[in-house]
């Protein structure tokens, strides 16, 4: 079992509903987003287009953030999620430097200790049999979530049918987030 997500970039309109839903679900403070939507231009006038790249944590299966963690706070959950053990995090921020997707953020003060934080694919919802907030919120239904180890799952079939690719696959981080080309 390995949770994963596929995002159809042709459907994404850059509305940031996912970003806001994530914030509402996770209760992050001002300026801290587990999720972001990158906007970029493509082409030259008059054929230029605006494109969007929604980016949760990629939940890599060979995560650079885990390799650099000096205390073992970053770990891979049995179902494929890359998570942080709050009790072990010492706030060194090595993971932030190592993550090629800039998925890690830092809380400068939570009570008396510092903490690295990140998207957890809404584990608290998964445990209740619910989908991640960004998936259920997306108005254009660009996201599909499920078990990418199961070849019969919808998420796996979409990846195969549309030749879904991770973002920067050449880094060898084996992300669990795939994109259908926009």
């Amino acid at each position: 079992m390995r949770y994963g997500m596929v995002i159809d970039l042709q459907k994404c309109t850059g509305c940031n509903s996912c970003t806001v839903a994530c914030r509402a679900e996770q209760g992050t403070p001002a300026g801290v987003h587990f999720h972001k939507v990158i906007k970029y231009e493509f082409g030259k006038y008059p054929n230029a287009k605006m494109k969007f790249l929604p980016m949760p944590c990629m939940h890599c299966q060979d995560p650079p953030c885990q390799k650099v963690c000096p205390t073992g706070a970053t770990f891979i959950h049995p179902e494929g999620l890359v998570l942080i053990d709050e009790n072990k995090c010492i706030g060194c921020r090595a993971c932030m430097v190592a993550c090629p997707y800039e998925s890690r953020q830092f809380l400068w003060e939570i009570k008396t200790y510092f903490l690295g934080i990140k998207c957890n694919f809404c584990l608290q919802r998964l445990e209740q049999g619910r989908l991640p907030a960004c998936v259920t919120t997306c108005p254009s239904e660009a996201r599909t979530f499920g078990d990418i180890d199961d070849p019969e799952s919808e998420v796996s079939r979409l990846i195969v049918r549309h030749r879904g690719m991770p973002f920067r696959a050449e880094l060898g981080t084996e992300p669990s987030v795939y994109y259908m080309k926009g």
Partner: protein
């Protein structure tokens, strides 16, 4: 070919729209599969008039002339008027010039803020100063709430229970949504303060005024009303589910009766069923998407010339002559009657002949997360954070060729000036913009004393 929105939202836009429709007519592309569909209601609404052309609907049906006028928005002078709060402002500031036989003394704001959502906030402030009494139904302390004599606090958007029909696209080219009939329910979040649902406020006001029940009362009106956009497909009070006009109902009871009487509620759902499931949908057969279906075999012809418009204009002109009055608020009558010509023609706007010293056109747009400022969307701090990080917002955007021509580089500070004002900003170069334009995101609420001072242009 779509002639929606951009060309129509300006003076003479009717003719841009008509030109588009004529082209579609000539290639047989009106109300056919894959073609240009008229907006809103799908049903037997475009029956032939006496001359065989389709009957006007919605705001194409003219309002009667009346003098002196009764409405502050001067509907009597604008037979096809949509919403016109700017005319109400002019009536407040200068009633005699607009032939109004009274002065406007009171104002009630509900869910809108004409001061903030207007390019001339100072003019509305001047209008409010002339009022003797104003009431605001508001969920936060915006300008209208601050200026009100009586403030009736309402729930914010997410605190309101909501039962609504899914409206078809207003101007639609595609047929994917034409067949979908749907009603939706949204659960409210707990209220933070001692507020009320806006409909409860109106109910209470009607009750205290003695116009809630009985003949001619609010409930009687609700019983007779049909949805303006979706007509008989809307959430109306139908048949046995009409209200007893002699007793009071809760909002939930009224919603329940609307749902039970909805023509596509084939499973006899109640409010509780809708609450449990979120939405109720019904897909009409595809053949019913097209208005041709209801009047086949050329029973109805689409007009090539807007003869109805000419008739309305002629009648309006005659009425002005009869009462020996000029058209209110314009320098000369031709400015108005130029737009009652039945034939497509070029209409000049204030920007048709701009002064030569201004070499760029300012263009603006809306982002999906700031689609409008209803409900103080632009005051939402979470969205403001996204906006602040968005490189295509809060900047002055120029095509690289234009930037190079002007000797400007990314990040340079500039002042953008027009005949109407100026603003400061930083340059971002972008291939998304025409070389003759300066892109400035908006309109996210012009500056007022209650907003970010950076938004206050000069």
């Amino acid at each position: 070919m779509s002639s929606a929105t951009s060309p129509t939202n300006r003076r003479g836009g009717t003719y841009a729209d008509l030109a588009g429709k004529l082209i579609n007519l000539m290639v047989g592309n009106i109300e056919v599969p894959g073609g240009c569909l008229s907006c809103s209601f799908r049903g037997p609404i475009m029956g032939p008039t006496e001359d065989g052309t389709s009957a006007p609907q919605y705001e194409a049906v003219p309002r009667p002339f009346k003098f002196p006028p009764e409405s502050a928005t001067l509907k009597e002078f604008y037979p096809h008027q949509h919403t016109a709060p700017h005319l109400a402002l002019k009536s407040i500031l200068n009633p005699e010039k607009h032939h109004l036989p009274y002065t406007v003394e009171a104002w009630m704001s509900v869910g809108g803020n004409p001061i903030r959502q207007n390019a001339q906030p100072e003019a509305y402030v001047a209008g409010f100063k002339k009022l003797s009494f104003s009431v605001a139904i508001a969920f936060h302390m915006d300008e209208c709430a601050i200026l009100s004599d009586v403030l009736l606090p309402e729930h914010s958007a997410l605190e309101r229970v909501r039962v609504t029909p899914f409206y078809p696209q207003h101007q639609s080219m595609d047929n994917e949504v034409c067949g979908l009939k749907m009603i939706q329910y949204r659960d409210p979040v707990p209220t933070l303060f001692n507020t009320k649902h806006v409909d409860e406020i109106f109910t209470e006001l009607a009750e205290k005024l003695g116009i809630l029940t009985g003949e001619g009362g609010l409930y009687d009106h609700l019983n007779r009303e049909i949805d303006w956009v979706d007509k008989t497909d809307g959430l109306n009070l139908n048949g046995e589910w009409k209200l007893d006009i002699n007793r009071k109902y809760t909002l939930e009871e009224i919603y329940d009766r609307q749902i039970r009487g909805w023509p596509y509620n084939k499973s006899n759902w109640t409010l509780e069923d809708l609450r449990q499931n979120g939405y109720l949908e019904y897909w009409r057969p595809r053949k019913e998407f097209y208005l041709y279906y209801y009047f086949p075999d050329n029973q109805t012809r689409h007009p090539f010339y807007l003869l109805g418009l000419k008739t309305v204009g002629d009648r309006l002109k005659e009425n002005l002559k009869q009462h020996q009055i000029p058209f209110p608020g314009v320098p000369h009558d031709d400015y108005i009657f130029d737009l009652y010509d039945p034939v497509v023609h070029w209409v000049e706007t204030s920007e048709t002949h701009p002064p030569k010293e201004y070499d760029l056109w300012a263009v603006n747009w809306k982002t999906p997360y700031y689609a409008n400022d209803a409900g103080n969307l632009t005051g939402n701090p979470w969205l403001a954070e996204i906006y602040a990080k968005d490189p295509w917002e809060a900047n002055v955007l120029l095509n690289p060729i234009t930037a190079a021509r002007k000797g400007l580089m990314e990040g340079d500070s500039v002042v953008v000036a027009s005949r109407y004002g100026e603003l400061e900003g930083r340059i971002r170069v972008s291939e998304l913009f025409h070389p003759d334009t300066a892109g400035i995101a908006g309109s996210y609420g012009p500056g007022t004393l209650q907003s970010n001072p950076l938004n206050r242009g000069r």
